[in-house]
């Protein structure tokens, strides 16, 4: 392998090899390598093909910031090879090239495409002929995408967990600024978390020869008790909540104080051929060398606007890379690095930059020249430099995304040519280090210390001495601020070269295309972004935001400050969906009898958020058992509320349209809850347990909403009443059928005769030795008892009933037979037979509304209006004539147009006919009316009935 001698801060462990495959070929590297560094070591220079033109791309940033090295690892697309640790046996594949990275057929698009595929070209063509558009579209679509989604799976294969972390201070960014901030806040007593997306904390120190300092600071922080997380990317800022992605964990950090020390991102330069493999950012080149002991090239040219570019040149020089020439845009650079380079005889072009790069699949040479502010070369200043590496440092753009999401608006700073956060930040927000535009090692550490101390003091930590030290640090920082020379501001693009000049590598957007977009009228950064798609690719503007803003300013003639930046949005790093999703579990409610249903072979489905038995295999037989003998159904999901207190009756009178205060203790009344718009919200029974105590049941899915509805009005009315939700506390079963009395009587000493326990009576009694509330009601239309019991005894009661009923032909029945049974009685299911617009009048329950009640009640005014307006539409029963069961949802037709709908429909084995419920126009809502139902293209005839199909007098119910 082609490595440098051991580097002092290298991350590789030369004693331990790893090997993996790339496009089927074996690649060897060391433990500590990234996929990219191992591939680079093996000689690979082309890592990907670009999105649109399929141009070869090589390593650029080596920090996971640019789109150039996206690969697929073990089927996972979009992996950043330059930060992904190399692991033994991993399967790495290239993306977006056919058949191979080396020979990509789609490259033809590049040769033609500069002309054929300008930004937005698809908006201007393929319209004609209309009928061919689907074909064109298929072709366009064929060219889409980078990676490939894996083949369909039955379930997720990777685990990821959430971890909530509360903290006093969260520091994002573990460079010298972040580490200093964390250490200081911790020393003042704060609970501090620091996260860094790099392989270890240290930031730039790790690659600029200051790794010792980085590791010292990190060790100090760790020893002081800072929780250091790396590699761990802060994905966004959500009002103080910061998701941090670390491997297969999503930390959700909620901190009181936030220090942003995210540093700055080195920017490329815009010139012809700026995307060639071999063009590398200075930071990328240094990373390769310092962390992985890889010489980034043999002969290098350098184009920089910053001191860092020169420093990189010196560092590479020392490693044996030949530095052929340097162009430094600054007119009067000075300092140690420059001296050193000139001492080595390296030609340095002051006020110069790179104007073009040559090569087809790899860099072969560059032209450097002195340029004017528009990037035009001064005639005669050109210097052609053969080289295989171009080190670029186009300045630094603060990594201000999280700050922006925290509401900090960056302003343009003329001097440094960057958008910087203002000095005054919102409360609880601090920034330190290069993200603030600060330069110079000393100032950066100091700024961290200041931010850390400020955060700690905001928490009430520290003392007079620490406050005084903070003051001193602040003023020393002000002194240091101005000391460091500014970088030069590069021209938006260099002129003079041939070939494409990329502003955006992800989306293959050229400087020319941005100019064209402005000419067409896309004259703001936001419009231009959407038209050219600049900044919309995987780098999300890290590499292209500032260059495109500069280009926009040039093309529109606006000041950069007015051009502004586009909105920063999460996630900061492209994060696998599985990591955000966490564990796949879904909250489910289960009755205490759930396992019994499973044992009995029930078909279990979701019913709202409950898991419930739909049937036990034979819904018709289950229904017949209820008619002929006895059945038992688990109705534990029913909502159950206790309403207690001196005002309980009056309270319910205000909530229900009927009267409940007049209910005798031990008696039950049906109730329908409505809104002030007179619409039905829920229904259920109300049993009076005592003078001041009512037991209210609700629909299963309505329990929570009804509890909240009650307590909401109570919050307003402040009556002497207390509402307690006891839904979970009680199991409930409905024992129904002609023989239910015998079954029940066998288990209780309660007198179950109709005289003692009549229809709509409520009693408390022990059944099978456990205390129960017995409600004699009949949703399914047969003699029946709803038995409510502590859920701890649900199983006991269920077993006892089945045992006691075994001689009577008892069967458990599910929701499906229950639906049939209640339909025979025209009992409404709220939410199925009614919808959000239904009122009790239309829903054929006028008797439930007592407009003669003296007291005001919810819905009264609206119901008065409804009563006055008269029926618009009515809920009725129907018998279908042709023996066909119309689908629930089928339409009721009037003059061929939909005028109503079927809400329920079943074949009743008991009645031997097809029955249902439907909404029909008012004029058809009377007995005997003929209606036409349209069901999937068929037309069915049916006859309306308003009386129950089964036992219309309710004799069986009351028996």
């Amino acid at each position: 392998m082609n490595r440098l001698p051991p580097q002092p801060g290298e991350r590789i462990d030369r004693a331990r090899q790893v090997s993996f495959s790339f496009d089927g070929r074996r690649v060897r590297g060391y433990e500590g390598d990234t996929v990219a560094s191992a591939l680079f070591a093996s000689g690979r220079r082309v890592f990907s093909r670009s999105f649109k033109y399929h141009r070869p791309r090589g390593l650029l940033c080596c920090a996971g910031q640019c789109p150039n090295c996206l690969v697929t690892v073990d089927g996972a697309p979009g992996v950043r090879a330059c930060t992904e640790p190399a692991r033994e046996g991993m399967r790495v594949e290239h993306q977006n090239a056919l058949p191979s990275l080396r020979w990509d057929l789609m490259r033809a698009v590049d040769q033609l495409g500069g002309r054929l595929m300008p930004a937005g070209f698809y908006y201007k063509t393929f319209m004609w002929p209309r009928r061919l558009w689907p074909l064109y579209e298929r072709v366009l679509r064929g060219a889409a995408g980078l990676g490939r989604a894996p083949a369909p799976q039955q379930e997720r294969g990777r685990r990821s967990d959430y971890r909530r972390r509360h903290a006093d201070v969260l520091v994002v960014g573990g460079g010298p600024a972040g580490l200093s901030a964390a250490l200081q806040a911790r020393r003042l007593g704060a609970d501090v978390v620091l996260v860094d997306e790099g392989p270890e904390p240290g930031g730039h120190l790790l690659v600029t020869g200051a790794h010792e300092r980085a590791r010292t600071l990190a060790t100090q922080a760790r020893e002081a008790g800072v929780e250091l997380l790396a590699p761990a990317a802060a994905l966004g800022y959500f009002d103080g909540l910061v998701p941090v992605w670390q491997g297969d964990t999503l930390h959700q950090v909620r901190a009181a104080q936030h220090v942003t020390a995210t540093g700055a991102i080195e920017q490329p330069l815009v010139f012809a051929g700026n995307d060639l493999p071999g063009v590398m950012l200075s930071g990328g080149a240094r990373r390769l060398a310092a962390l992985y002991a890889l010489p980034p090239g043999g002969t290098a040219a350098v184009a920089t606007v910053t001191e860092e570019g020169l420093e990189a040149a010196v560092a590479l020089l020392e490693l044996g890379v030949r530095i052929a020439a340097v162009a430094d845009l600054r007119r009067a650079p000075g300092g140690a690095a420059l001296e050193r380079l000139e001492a080595e005889g390296v030609p340095v072009l002051r006020g110069g930059t790179v104007v073009c790069a040559e090569g087809r699949n790899a860099l072969r040479g560059v032209t450097l020249a002195r340029v004017d502010e528009h990037g035009r070369p001064h005639a005669g200043s050109e210097l052609r430099v053969p080289c295989d590496l171009l080190i670029v440092s186009g300045g630094f753009a603060p990594a201000g995304s999280l700050l922006a999401q925290a509401g900090v608006k960056a302003g343009y700073d003329e001097a440094s040519g960057a958008f910087l956060p203002p000095a005054a930040l919102p409360p609880g927000t601090y920034a330190a280090g290069t993200v603030t535009g600060l330069r110079g090692a000393e100032a950066i550490e100091l700024s961290g210390r200041v931010a850390g101390a400020e955060a700690a003091h905001a928490l009430g930590l520290g003392d007079a001495a620490s406050r005084e030290r903070l003051e001193q640090d602040r003023s020393r920082l002000d002194g240091l601020r101005s000391a460091v020379p500014e970088p030069a501001v590069p021209p938006p693009s260099a002129a003079g070269g041939k070939g494409k000049c990329f502003a955006c590598l992800c989306e293959d957007v050229t400087a020319e295309e941005i100019r064209h977009s402005v000419e067409e009228g896309f004259d703001s950064i936001e419009l231009s972004k959407r038209y050219t798609t600049v900044t919309m690719g995987p780098c999300q503007g890290r590499m292209c935001q500032l260059p495109s803003v500069r280009l926009m300013a040039r093309e529109t003639g606006q000041p950069l400050a007015d051009v502004g930046l586009t909105t920063a949005r999460p996630p900061w790093s492209a994060v696998p969906l599985g990591v955000l999703a966490g564990r796949p579990s879904e909250p489910a409610k289960r009755s205490p009898l759930h396992h019994r249903h499973r044992e009995a072979g029930a078909r279990i489905k979701w019913a709202g958020d409950w898991r419930r038995p739909y049937d036990y295999g034979d819904p018709h037989a289950e229904a017949m058992a209820v008619h002929e003998a006895v059945g038992v159904i688990d109705v534990s999901p029913l909502g159950k509320l206790l309403v207690e207190g001196p005002d309980a009756g009056a309270f319910l009178d205000r909530l229900y349209p009927n009267r409940l205060s007049t209910l005798e203790p031990g008696r039950i009344r049906y109730g329908v809850l409505g809104s002030d718009a007179g619409r039905i919200m829920d229904d259920g029974t109300v049993a009076r347990l005592g003078e001041q105590s009512f037991y209210v049941t609700t629909t299963s899915s309505g329990a929570g909403a009804v509890e909240e509805w009650f307590s909401w009005w109570q919050a307003d009315w402040r009556m002497e009443v207390r509402v307690t939700n006891v839904t979970h506390a009680l199991a409930a079963v409905n024992l129904a059928g002609p023989r239910s009395r015998e079954v029940l009587a066998g288990l209780t000493s309660l007198d179950c005769s109709s005289d003692a326990l009549g229809y709509l009576d409520a009693r408390q009694a022990h059944v099978a030795g456990v205390p129960c509330l017995i409600l004699r009601i009949g949703f399914v239309g047969e003699l029946g008892y709803e038995i409510h019991v502590s859920s701890a005894f649900g199983e006991h009661l269920w077993d006892a009933l089945l045992e006691a009923g075994s001689g009577h032909g008892i069967r458990p029945f599910g929701l499906e037979p229950q639906r049939l049974l209640r339909l025979q009685k025209l009992h409404v299911i709220v939410g199925q037979d009614t919808d959000t617009e239904s009122n009790p009048y239309d829903a054929a329950m006028p008797w439930i509304v007592k407009l003669d009640k003296e007291e005001d009640f919810i819905g009264r005014w609206a119901l008065e209006q409804t009563a006055e307006r008269g029926l618009q539409t009515g809920l009725v029963g129907f018998r279908a004539r042709d023996g066909v069961v119309p689908a629930e949802g089928a339409a009721v037709l009037v003059d061929g147009a939909p005028a109503g709908r079927v809400t329920s429909s079943r074949f009743s084995p008991r009645l031997g006919e097809v029955i249902g419920m439907a909404w029909v126009p008012a004029e058809m809502a009377g007995d005997g009316a003929e209606i036409t139902i349209s069901d999937n293209g068929r037309t069915l005839a049916a006859t309306v009935t308003t009386t129950p199909f089964y036992d219309p007098q309710g004799a069986r119910l009351r028996s």
């Binding site: 959430y162 009755s591 009680l730 408390q764 030795g769 005894f793």
Partner: protein, 212 residues
């Protein structure tokens, strides 16, 4: 009419019917191979076959246990929200300024209930899961957004809030020991989620014996 039907301890063994109160988590415990014992009318899981491993989990990582048999009484009892008080052998946990949830040993429930006003017996309405061990907080951090740092939630802290995306209440019972209460219909779901979260931490479900 009384509210006896809410109280499991009001059962009266009658003839052939020997009522056993069962935790809503029991089916999960059974599937995991738990052994049961009758205690105070409740079927209680005493262990999963390896007492050694269970004790180790509680000592060195995290142990998850079903404590649903605890008596749980909501009563009118003014208290300052936030902090529960241990007194008279029970935990007094403020739900609101007026209402308090009293947690007591199963066999003490009847006695406590008699002394309180405005009681609603929620013994069977709430499932209870104990989370114990040095990694108890780490486990809970995977399930809840509640701030359980020692400084924010010292022993005695009582925190209503969501756990595993369902409404719950959390009591810090003792150093490294928490009790999570939630609606019993969610019991199996929460138990499974808790065990799932415990697994990578080296945690395990334990029986009642392990923590006593």
């Amino acid at each position: 009419m009384s509210l006896d039907f809410l109280s499991p301890d009001r059962a009266l063994p009658a003839g052939a019917h020997e009522p056993v109160a069962r935790s809503p988590i029991e089916p999960c415990l059974r599937r995991a191979g738990a052994r049961f014992e009758l205690r105070g009318g409740w079927s209680v899981a005493t262990g999963f076959g390896d007492p050694e491993a269970e004790a180790r989990a509680a000592r060195s990582s995290v142990a998850v246990s079903d404590r649903s048999a605890l008596g749980k009484l909501e009563a009118t009892e003014p208290m300052e929200p936030g902090t529960a008080v241990h007194a008279e052998g029970a935990w007094w946990c403020p739900l609101t300024r007026e209402r308090t949830l009293v947690l007591c040993p199963t066999d003490a429930t009847a006695g406590v209930r008699e002394r309180l006003a405005g009681v609603v017996d929620l013994t069977s309405g709430l499932a209870a899961v104990g989370v114990e061990g040095p990694l108890a907080r780490d486990l809970l951090a995977r399930l809840t957004a509640l701030d359980l740092r020692p400084g924010s939630a010292p022993v005695g802290a009582f925190r209503p809030g969501s756990v595993a995306r369902v409404p719950a209440m959390l009591l810090h019972e003792a150093e490294d020991r928490f009790l999570v209460l939630f609606g019993s219909a969610h019991a199996q779901y929460v138990w499974e989620v808790a065990c799932d979260a415990a697994e990578p931490l080296g945690g395990t479900p334990v029986g009642a014996a392990a923590h006593a």
